[in-house]
């Protein structure tokens, strides 16, 4: 099985309503608020140490029963910068991709630096999505 380290598009940052424990690094987030600053259109986004996915990608992740991640709600807001950039642009619904798997074992995992590591199966899925701004490094 081959694995890939992904560096998804960073479309925003953790918002003020995020609840995060910084006792460990990467920090642990128990409530996620993602504030969009700029969005190039990808279905998979990051704001260290969290990942969010579009509803359509979340549906496929759930349907394929991929291991190492679950879907949860995320509060999404738009920053002033976002509204300056795209006065009329709305964003689709996004959900929190909570990654709990082990890198190199599960379909979704994170390495010790919190980078997303996915299986071939996930890569195949992502090829059907918009991930033009996601960098991919093959691992094995």
């Amino acid at each position: 099985m081959r694995y890939f380290v992904l560096a998804p598009e960073v479309a925003g940052s953790l918002g003020n309503n995020t609840v995060m424990s910084r006792e460990r690094h990467p920090p642990t987030v128990s409530r996620l608020h993602y504030e969009f600053d700029v969005w190039l259109g990808d279905d998979l986004l990051e704001a260290f140490p969290c990942f969010i996915v579009s509803q359509r990608l979340a549906d496929k992740v759930a349907r394929l029963k991929l291991s190492g991640a679950s879907i949860d709600v995320v509060e999404v807001t738009l920053s002033e910068q976002y509204r300056d950039l795209y006065p009329d642009r709305r964003i689709p619904e996004f959900l929190w991709l909570k990654v709990s798997g082990a890198a190199g074992r599960d379909d979704f995992g994170t390495d010790v630096a919190g980078r997303l590591v996915v299986s071939e199966q996930v890569m195949e899925l992502l090829k059907t999505m918009d991930v033009d701004h996601c960098s991919v490094i093959p691992v094995v």
Binding site: V10, G15, L40, V139
Partner: protein
């Protein structure tokens, strides 16, 4: 003891280690070859597949790999045979006489899979030796920092202290440290060694404990990452403690991204290049030592058993060496860098060197602040923050809201130059910063803003970055 057996055994270990290095060196070609075949066999071969094959070989040779003509021929024959077998040959070639049934033969690739000896204790000896080698490199680093620090301490104000040899030596030691660990990890993976062995490896200090860049070779880092992934995968389901051990290894390149803090943010370092070699003017590097202390140099030196005087000197030495390594790398990355071969002192922050700064805002409406200062830009630029507003969420109590919203922290990007692309790249820069810095000081945040201004400042309106 059976010396002949021992010698043979040691010889085999060395050969295996050479194999591993060869495999690592050839991995880029293997990856490219895999990609080439994946594309080639994804559909019927194009009529010019032979030209494409030779173009691919030429590309690899241009990258520095020599591929023997015989190998090129053998692969070409195999491609043709395999395509014929899969009925993927170009239509024009399908009329040709079918070749011998060699079609199903595999390409002439021999996998370098070393045998597995039974004597696990001897395997552990090899592993232990590599850990000792890594520790030896760390010990040498410590001695080097101690000696160089002593020399810096002894230098008079405004003296120029040569640093080139120390930097070279330090870079080599960092590389050797990782090379030894790479061999150790390889042995651990190959011979399925114990979790206890890995725990001992994880307990080793690293160059970053001394305030030095953690790595100096990104390919080495990539290979280490692959090993870690494999170790991580194997450890699951075997030993719960392995998660902690593997998780204890650090990946963030804190040293390299953070070393730039020695310039800017009000901290002064003057390095000089004399006759193409790096040196340091001592008086100004004292400030650099203070910055290095923030990176935990003292903790690393204490853990390594250094006394207080050594720590003071080593702190200074590590700061200087880390700074020069990073500057040198940047020089290599940018062949037309103005510092290349420049015999003049590099500008300090008191001169023309740029450094981001913060002021104090009187309102939280940052766009009003910006357009009050630049009314002619209203409607023409997107205003963003050099240090993002949300660092307050990441690093509470480091900066104030008034500082974040101050004019000094605001940048404009013209709407007609596709600002979202630049803003997206800047967002990635900050994301990487958050990953690399569990905690951050005001100086580090300003240094990151300085780096980004220097990289993107020409796109800003008004331009920033000096």
């Amino acid at each position: 003891m059976d010396f002949a057996k021992q010698i043979e055994y040691n010889r085999r270990l060395l050969v295996e280690d050479i194999f591993r290095r060869l495999e690592a060196a050839l991995q880029p070609v293997v990856d490219a070859l895999n990609d080439f075949f994946a594309v080639l066999f994804s559909a019927r071969l194009p009529a010019d597949w032979r030209e494409q094959w030779h173009a691919f070989i030429a590309e690899q040779e241009a990258a520095g790999y020599r591929i023997s003509p015989q190998t090129v021929r053998e692969f070409k024959d195999w491609i043709e045979a395999w395509a014929r077998y899969c009925e993927l040959l170009p239509v024009a070639e399908t009329q040709a006489v079918s070749p011998a049934p060699a079609a199903t033969e595999q390409p002439p690739i021999s996998r370098l899979t070393p045998p597995k000896p039974a004597e696990t204790n001897r395997r552990e000896e090899f592993f232990n030796q590599k850990l000792a080698d890594a520790q030896g490199s760390l010990d040498e680093i410590k001695r080097l920092l101690d000696e160089f620090g002593g020399r810096l301490d002894a230098a008079k104000l405004d003296d120029t202290v040569d640093a080139e040899a120390e930097v070279d030596r330090c870079e080599a030691l960092i590389w050797r440290y990782h090379d030894a660990l790479e061999s150790a990890r390889d042995a651990w993976l190959r011979d399925d060694l114990s979790g206890e062995a890995d725990a001992r490896m994880a307990k080793l200090l690293s160059p970053s404990h001394f305030g030095l860049p953690r790595i100096t070779d990104e390919q080495q880092d990539q290979r280490a990452m692959r090993q870690l992934m494999q170790m991580n995968a194997r450890s699951h389901g075997r030993d719960k403690t392995m998660d902690r051990v593997v998780g204890g290894l650090e990946w963030t390149n804190v040293g390299l991204t953070g070393a730039g803090i020695l310039v800017g943010g009000g901290i002064l370092v003057t390095t000089v290049k004399t006759g193409g070699k790096w040196a340091v003017v001592k008086a100004l590097t004292v400030a650099a030592a203070a910055a290095a202390a923030e990176q935990g140099v003292e903790a690393g030196m204490r853990a390594a058993g250094a006394d207080e005087q050594t720590i003071r000197g080593a702190r200074l030495a590590a700061a200087v060496i880390a700074f020069i390594i990073v500057r040198r790398r940047r020089g290599l990355e940018s062949s037309n860098s103005k510092s290349q071969g420049d015999p003049r002192p590099l500008e300090s922050t008191t001169g023309r060197t740029y450094s981001a700064s913060l002021g104090t805002a009187t309102t939280s409406d940052y766009r009003t602040t910006f357009f009050s200062a630049h009314p002619e830009l209203k409607g023409k630029v997107i205003v963003h923050h050099a240090i993002p507003q949300k660092v307050i969420v990441r690093y509470p109590n480091v900066l104030t809201e008034a500082e974040i919203q101050s004019l000094e922290n605001l940048r404009g990007i013209r709407k007609e130059i596709n600002p979202e692309l630049h803003l997206s790249k800047i967002a990635i820069e900050w994301n990487d910063f958050y990953r690399a810095n569990p905690i951050a000081t005001k100086a580090q945040l300003l240094q990151k803003a300085t780096d980004i201004d220097l990289q993107f400042g020409a796109q800003f309106t008004p331009p920033t970055g000096g």
